[in-house]
Amino acid sequence: MSTDSLDIIATRHHLYTLAQTNHLSPQALEYALRMIGCIPNRHAWRRFLDQALLWLGTTLCVAGIIFFFAYNWANLNRFGKFATLEIGLFALILFAILRDLENLSGKATLLAASLVLGVLLAVYGQVYQTGADVFTLFLTWAILILPWVFFSHFAPLWLLLLILANLSLTLYWEQVFDPTHNLTDSLFLLMFVLNGLALMAWEMAFKRGLRWLQGQWLGRIIFMVTLTVLVLPTLQAIIMFDSDYTYNHSSLLGWAVALYLETTAVALWYYSSQRRDLFLLTVCLTGILITVTTLLGKSLPWYDVGSWLLMGLVVIAQASYMAYLLMRIANTWGSKSC
């Protein structure tokens, strides 16, 4: 075992501390940060510029194409509309295949093709006024892009699929199943199931070390959506506790609250011991802060002066204890990254 105190992986925090204690000059600090990859060298800058120009340029072109169709909408006959879109779609798919789906430009083109497919379906729905509900558009769109999503190994495409699935569910619920909006709580629970399954799938894939899923942003977005669809009915249950609405929907709201508590408990355990993610722990605790504060606000009499002071102190106590806990967890894990 090495007894050298410097025989540890260098991190940004280490180097910053050495600079602050005047052990490293500014030039030495910059050199060291570049060595460990915390700040970019020339090659990293080239890659960044390349990718930024690709993404921005592609996005603007696709948006321009969409606006072009919007302008010529009334003037084009239906065959002209379909032909233009299908040619565009075909060209994008061909380009993606030629560029190879292993390359970022190929994946970006496939994402663009997925968006154009949605436009094509919308045009189809508008030209042939079948009277179908809007949710069928998003559902069909999601089903059609499934093969591309599976084969592209591209996280943004998975996000698009999840967005379409959520939109399909929400619109189906509002337009077909519950047009009078009496069963919104059930919708939240179904969205929890949908996004919860997506989260589990993502966590399993991440654990298996799939290279294209190693950025954590997708998992974090899915988790935040999953938690939000439980927090909302929980807050509703608290705020409307003694109302007729809650009385009539007590079982569903009860389920939502129970699921929220369980999900938070499981998430706190999982993200602190199984897969360390301080950001998601913070999201969980923020949800608890909002819920407990709402509960306290509902319980205390607002005409009482002391209630305001007590609420303020409780909020501060919660926030500071949570921050203390999170920092303790972070220090236990150690600073492993920039």
Partner: protein, 360 residues
Amino acid sequence: MLKSITLRTVTNQLLAQSLLSPNTVAKITREFPNTVATVPSPPWFISVLLGIGAWLAVILFLGFLFSTRLIESPPSAIIVGAILVISTIVLHQPNRQAWFFNQLYLALNLTGQVLCIGGTFWGSDITTAMLLAMALATLLIGVYQHNLHRFLSVLTAAGAMLVLLYDLEVYEGIHALIFGIAAGAAWCWLEEANHLTDRTMAAIYRPLGYGFVMALQILLLWSILPSINFLATINWEGSTLGLTLLLLIIEYSILYSHQMTMLSLRNYLIFTGTLLIGLLFSNNPGMLAALIVMSLGFQRGNLVLIGLSIVFLTIFLVAYYYYLEITLLDKSLALIGSGVVLLGLRFLLKRVLEEPVTDN
């Protein structure tokens, strides 16, 4: 891309490059375990949690103060506010890990500021209130040693300056304000290495830097708002010109730091491309601001800045084209034209640069 390199390897390499002396290496080896025991500052999302808690508490404390009828006139508001501000400055202990008390003092200090500024506005006029806000914010940045507080002080000062310019009907002064804030952000982040070795700046450059970035992006949201009766119409090309110039300076600084030859085709391409982007988005300074923040973020390896820039870039881009008062055909041509220009720039850069760039 992070590399797993030990500190020993780093110090050896710095020694070989004559960036460290043997004495300093020995000193680091002796003192390092104690040096690194300092507690790192909380990540941005924990600061957001603390910020949410603080502002929620401010609203509740204000509710408490108003319901006790302690505040019934402008002078009483100002007096109570001043007592809160001064007492929290005295009581706040920055180096202690007293989370609850530090958070409590932060909320009370913010409450005090709201009362002082609100009371001044209530009893006087908005100009005096905004001048007080700017003075308080500037003073407290130096005096109240709390990163979140410093961050909020920058936002307060920027907001107060904007309201002041609007109240005095110096609408075009916003361009100077925007340029000043952007320049402040660039100075904070580009000179990070120098700030870290300066005792005073090491403590304040990060909250200032984040404050400047957020203030810049928030101020520029005005440029994408549709015409509203009570908001003055401003010609935003002044801001775009200033921000384009700043972006050129930042690019020059980055190229210089990488010891690249200034007089080269690649650099001419980069500078010309920047001027072209400035021209393309002449009425949308938010785009330039987002690009500035993205450049600063990438140069410093700061994911928070990069994330912020992507969010605001998306907002500015979507809003700009949505509210553009031209036909859909012209919008589509503008978008496609802009996209082709950027893709063309990418193509030229790839041809000009010595080594090929991979897409992964």
